[in-house]
């Protein structure tokens, strides 16, 4: 939360590797902390090597558009 606020970022993206439980256990609490401060988040779950790059692009694009003023 501090990092986001100090850097002036408008949102945060969680890029988690499938089955990496250490990060998946932390995600709900981290996400809640950010959202409670009104910081939008996006969760991307990737699998190496079979992730679909097109889908990721669209989701990131949509997230960026959502954060853009116009």
């Amino acid at each position: 939360v501090k990092d986001v606020q100090e850097s002036g970022a408008k949102g945060a993206i969680f890029l988690l590797y499938k089955y990496c439980e250490a990060h998946f256990f932390d995600y709900p609490d981290l996400n809640r902390a950010l959202e409670s401060k009104g910081i939008p988040t996006l969760l991307l779950e990737v699998e190496d090597p079979s992730y679909s790059i097109g889908q990721l692009k669209i989701r990131v694009q949509a997230f960026v558009e959502m954060l853009s003023p116009f």
Partner: protein
Amino acid sequence: MTEKELQTNPYRKIKSTGAYRRLMGAYYLMTKHPSWFGKKVAWITSGGPVEPLYVMGVLPFYPENYGAMCGASRMSVALCEAAEHKGYSRDLCSYALSDIGSFFTGKGPLGKLPKPDFLICGNNICGTVIKWYEVQARALRIPVFFFDTPFVHDEIHAHTLKYVQTQMKDYVTFLERQLKRPFSEEKFKKVGLRSFEAIKLWKEILKLSKNHPAPIAAFDAFIHMAPIVTLRGTRWAVWYYRKLRKEIEERVRRRIGAFAREEIRLIWDNIPIWYDIRNLSKILSSQGAVLVADTYTSAWALDQIDVSDPLNDLSKAYATIHLNLGLCYKIKKMIGLMEQYGAHGFIMHSNRS
């Protein structure tokens, strides 16, 4: 397979099951209403050192057992979904998800669970519990003690043992601080002896299935292991396993098997499928197959026992349980089980818990 075919090999019910239910019922009543008994409650992992808790008069509650109960009572799906709704990935361990779901919703086989006073987390059974307990400690705003047991690939090294022993001392200090009273070495010896006694009885019971026919099947062991997990260190566990051993010994004397027909003797590896033990048992027994031993219930049958130096000895025992040992050890143990129990085959149950 028709229902009739499935029932051609009747299962013989263990009579001590009644006593087992009363015992576990009393235990769960106490953990659900600790204040009635003036007790504090600690959540602890299944392989965690429980004896120091009993010394300090703290009631242990086992989230993993509870997860298994959720599975056996077929409540897991709804509880896991509740946790998923809170953002927990469905790929996470279902024991953890069931418990987290139960924590959020207040639902489950026992309803709302009592708030623990602190958590004890040992990673000798798996690594998942570290993050799981961290999440719970944060949600409950209570302290958690981590008991770290490095994985033993071949043999336990002297520095590993020392590291674990130091933590056992820290654990005692942690308990003293939490309960604001000193740890009694005297009482610890008593609890340790009772724990070892119960473990010895449990091992003897499991070994009785080396007989042909096997008097107790792994399906029974999955159920009757609950006191060795939750109540080792208490008089209750010793009392119960004495009773159970007597019954099983009587079966051996009269050459009575767990099932009427035993043609194939099999060994089971890993956790059971809690949500459908009954059907698995039926399918196997209809073929005349009996699970005579398993690697799971004996995971609590600690091998090293020397009571002259209980605290240090306990450290070694907890650092070297089955699940914390390397592949070579496991292979040796499995081959040993095959030979000792005269088994025809092995069922390896690989699953995403």
